[in-house]
Amino acid sequence: MTAPRTMYEKIWTDHVVRDGGGNEPDLLYIDLHLVHEVTSPQAFEALELTNRKVRRPDLTLATVDHGVPTEGRALGIKDPLSKKQIETLVDNCRNNGIELYDISDIRQGIVHVIGPEQGITQPGMTIVCGDSHTSTHGAFGALAFGIGTSEVEHVLATQSLPQSRPKSMAVNVNGELATGVTAKDVILGIITRIGVAGGTGYVIEYRGTAIVALSMAGRMTICNMSIEAGARAGMIAPDETTFEYLRGRNQAPTGDDWDTAVEYWKSLPSDPGATFDIEIDIDAAELAPYVSWGTNPAQTVSVTGAVPSPTEFDDPLERDAAERALVYMDLEAGTPIEEIPVDRIFLGSCTNGRIEDLRVGAKLLEGKTIHPDVHAMVVPGSGLVKLQAEEEGLDIIFKNAGFEWREPGCSMCLGMNPDILMPGERCASTSNRNFEGRQGRNGRTHLVSPEMAVAAAVAGHFVDVREWK
């Protein structure tokens, strides 16, 4: 009998190409390498300079997402630098035999939306991408983490990566979430409790009845923001919900392979009695719809709360950070969250840009119109999400309510394309980062769930979606 193991240990062990013996990192095999235009050009260039080849183009998938415009695509990409960056990826993929979902491909979209959508993200895999939100794919019971450009080059050349073993953390969320409390609120609640560096050096496994009850979309939202707690990766055990999601998708196994795969996937969840380096317990009933008030995702309170005073923080650097955040956000301590007016609404991103997010948004919005002072937009996570939404008539609901309906991409999550906040504008955003300048210089970001974003769009200020009609 081997000792009980966590899911992360099992997947790690299954991918060791060379055991570093504790003195050196292990060399891990990488099952899937996702590539986008921003963090890859220097890696391809370095490969060329060193006369190295892409080892496994068949385990590499590329798309364009960060810099693509979300309107007027027929006119081409106006920004000459973004245009060049995207063309560079097109060339690199062509020269190296890598499949690319280009801007004109219906499968194009945010890199962390397309993998699951195509069924190429599967349990038990190691998945990397030059992007910190690669943790999203952990929702399937995969070990998925973000890497830098030097590591992108490394994986292109060797399909492997030297890695030191992170520690393990279990976050147990038990109980039932109240209506109106979403996966986004679960992860914001977790980050608020453990802090933006609470997960540094750890792989988090989210467990418990509240996690098991979530759809794959909700699980992805949670794993997506693991990096916002500093974690190396986040993961959730695969189960029937996972298998049902994958069944029949383009890249999912078929026939006998499907049965073998499911059998393997069922062996992955952490064994009973497996121990984690740290365990954290959270009562689902204590979670509420959250709104971030500051400039990091842990600076977040319940919608029924108020902007805190810096004096509430004992740590001098935290206090200083809160002071700076209030100035940047132009907020006064003690202001009730529900009294904060918003100018912009962004519904999208790899956190909340999936079809399920658009469905809940549209359902809440039906028959309503947005506040006259608010400018709102929906940016679907992929071309296929957009298509599906249009088939369901969601676009009509959004447009009738006054939202703009855009083409897929990262858009205002980071504003590398023309979608940015103007200085001083305040945005209710379903994305994952509220850093200074993230959505545009001196733009003010409040992180919320899709439900909370839609309600704010109509009301013109934050409202408690649990009581909103």
Binding site: S132, E436, G437, R441
Partner: protein, 199 residues
């Protein structure tokens, strides 16, 4: 990657917690496909106002700190995105090391991979160094071999992963190291389960 042994130079104090990669290098500068030239955009929105004018009292804009080689900052330095442009911009600006009480994981890996030395000291040690750095004439010396940091009236030692140290001290290329195990990679590939996806 150049080998590192002893780094001696001026410090630039930036005593803030959670300095994120969006602050280190804002997204509008990530569109370049080149590997170099990111230095001028380091901490852009702290260094320049909305009109693009230099903010003179920002630490890196003060002429007295023009020669700074070691950045001294707060905990969780480099949090946020995986952009290697962040350490590239710090390195390109002339820095050889960053000292902080803690670093975000991906940023830390990126530093090791490009040869920018990340040094972890205690909160208290970083606070003292920050004070010492207030006089721009005070230099700091980081000795990688001995794992020590010294400055006037200051002496501390730091931990570093032995393999990371070995790579930094010898300027080793990770890819070349992995390719020494090309046989192990190939043999792993030959046993990979057929149900695993390939495009």
């Amino acid at each position: 990657m150049e080998a590192i042994s002893v780094i001696t130079g001026q410090m630039a104090p930036l005593p803030r917690a959670n300095v994120d990669t969006d602050a280190i290098i804002p997204k509008q500068f990530l569109k370049r496909v080149e590997r170099s030239g990111f230095g001028p955009f380091l901490f852009y929105e702290w260094a320049y106002d909305e009109e693009g004018e230099l903010i003179e009292d920002f630490i890196l804009n003060q002429p007295a700190y023009a020669a700074a080689k070691v950045l001294v900052s707060g905990p969780n330095f480099g949090s946020g995105s995986s952009r290697e442009h962040a350490p590239w911009s710090i390195e390109d600006r002339g820095f050889a090391a960053v000292i902080a009480p803690s670093f975000a994981d991906i940023f830390h890996n990126n530093c090791i991979n490009i040869g920018l030395l990340p040094v972890v000291l205690t909160d208290d040690e970083v606070a003292r160094l920050t004070q010492i750095a207030e006089d721009p004439d005070n230099l700091v010396t980081i000795d990688l071999e001995d794992q020590t940091v010294t400055a006037v009236g200051f002496d501390a030692s730091f931990d570093i992963d032995p393999f990371a140290k070995h790579r930094l001290a010898n300027g080793l290329d990770n890819i070349a190291l992995a390719l020494e195990h090309a046989d192990a990679i190939a043999s792993y590939e030959s046993t990979r389960a057929p149900h695993k996806p390939a495009l």
